[in-house]
């Protein structure tokens, strides 16, 4: 399984991804799925600059990610697929049909979101999307870094921030 982690993280490429997960998983490639960033050279350069030389970062829209997903899933090495929000990951997972685990890595506070964990805040619509994904057989856990235990979705939704 060359894509080791399908992660929702609104910071996208950052320290937890590149170092926290990247080093223990020996990650060699990151697939960043974002419809807006996929069309912006400046944004792509911004995120590419932060990655170490041994780690490639590829930018995809949801549509192009779906077209190339099988290739990523069979690529040599170890990868992380990143989406910045629940909706993007939901569209990807529902249409791909081959993604069985989703990691909630960082969905931070904004107006309309309720605190669930220190690093997970969700709107009612986002909670519904995650419940529907889970009901379809996708395992969803929250885990910001490998050193912390994963928290199952039901426990995440039962909490009120900590």
């Amino acid at each position: 399984m060359p894509i080791e982690l399908y992660r929702i993280d609104d910071r996208l490429v950052h320290g937890q991804v590149v170092v926290g997960w990247g080093q223990p998983l020996n990650v060699t490639f990151v697939v960043l799925v974002d419809d807006a960033i996929a069309t912006s050279d400046w944004e792509q350069e911004l995120y590419r600059m932060g990655a170490p030389p041994e780690m490639t970062v590829t930018f995809e829209s949801v549509d192009s990610a779906l077209a190339h997903l099988a290739e990523y899933q069979s690529r040599p090495g170890h990868g992380i697929l990143l989406a910045g929000d629940v909706e993007t990951m939901r569209r990807l997972v529902e249409r791909a049909g081959t993604i069985r685990h989703v990691n909630l890595g960082g969905i931070h506070h904004r107006i309309g979101r309720a605190a669930r964990l220190r690093y997970i805040f969700l709107t009612p619509e986002e909670e519904t999307s995650l419940r529907e994904l889970a009901a379809s057989g996708v395992t969803i856990t929250a885990q910001d870094v490998p050193a912390t235990p994963p928290v199952p979705l039901e426990q995440v939704l039962a909490r009120t921030g900590e």
Binding site: R11, G15, A51, H108
Partner: protein, 143 residues
């Protein structure tokens, strides 16, 4: 980034931005060693979204006439946010991979602008070493 009158000495102001308590810790150390801790303002990315980090950096830079943003990791969310801020503020410099020697050199230095940052980086790189050093043998090996 400054509004000093011509001929007036430029007051050095910088932001240190990073993960956890990196910034506060570094500034505390600068203060203890040099008394120049008030040169810097601390920004932490802890528990903030990318948008919130960028907003906090913009507000801090604007409030304190900051010339430089020092960040910890090149791949960190503070660096990403700092580059977004610098894109809109010509003259604002972003330095990644900052360590204590970098900050001390910059705070105590006399150069301005990029030259000051380059000099500080040189000092920062030079401060890093591994002890004990690897000893080269005659055969070219090391132990």
């Amino acid at each position: 980034m400054t509004s000093s009158a011509p001929g007036a000495a430029v007051v050095r102001r910088a932001v240190v931005a990073g993960h956890g308590d990196f910034a506060a810790g570094m500034i505390s150390a600068v203060q203890q060693i040099s008394g120049k801790g008030d040169t810097f303002r601390a920004v932490s990315s802890r528990d903030l979204s990318a948008v919130a980090i960028e907003e906090l950096l913009r507000a801090t830079v604007g409030a304190h006439e900051v010339q430089v943003i020092f960040t910890d990791l090149p791949a960190g969310s503070c660096t990403i946010a700092a580059r977004r801020v610098a894109r809109d503020l010509p003259g604002l410099i972003v330095v990644t991979g900052a360590n204590l020697s970098v900050l001390l050199s910059w705070a105590l230095g006399s150069d301005d602008g990029i030259a000051a940052c380059e000099h500080a980086l040189e000092r920062g790189r030079g401060a890093m070493s591994v002890l004990p050093a690897i000893v080269q043998t005659e055969g070219g090996g090391a132990h």
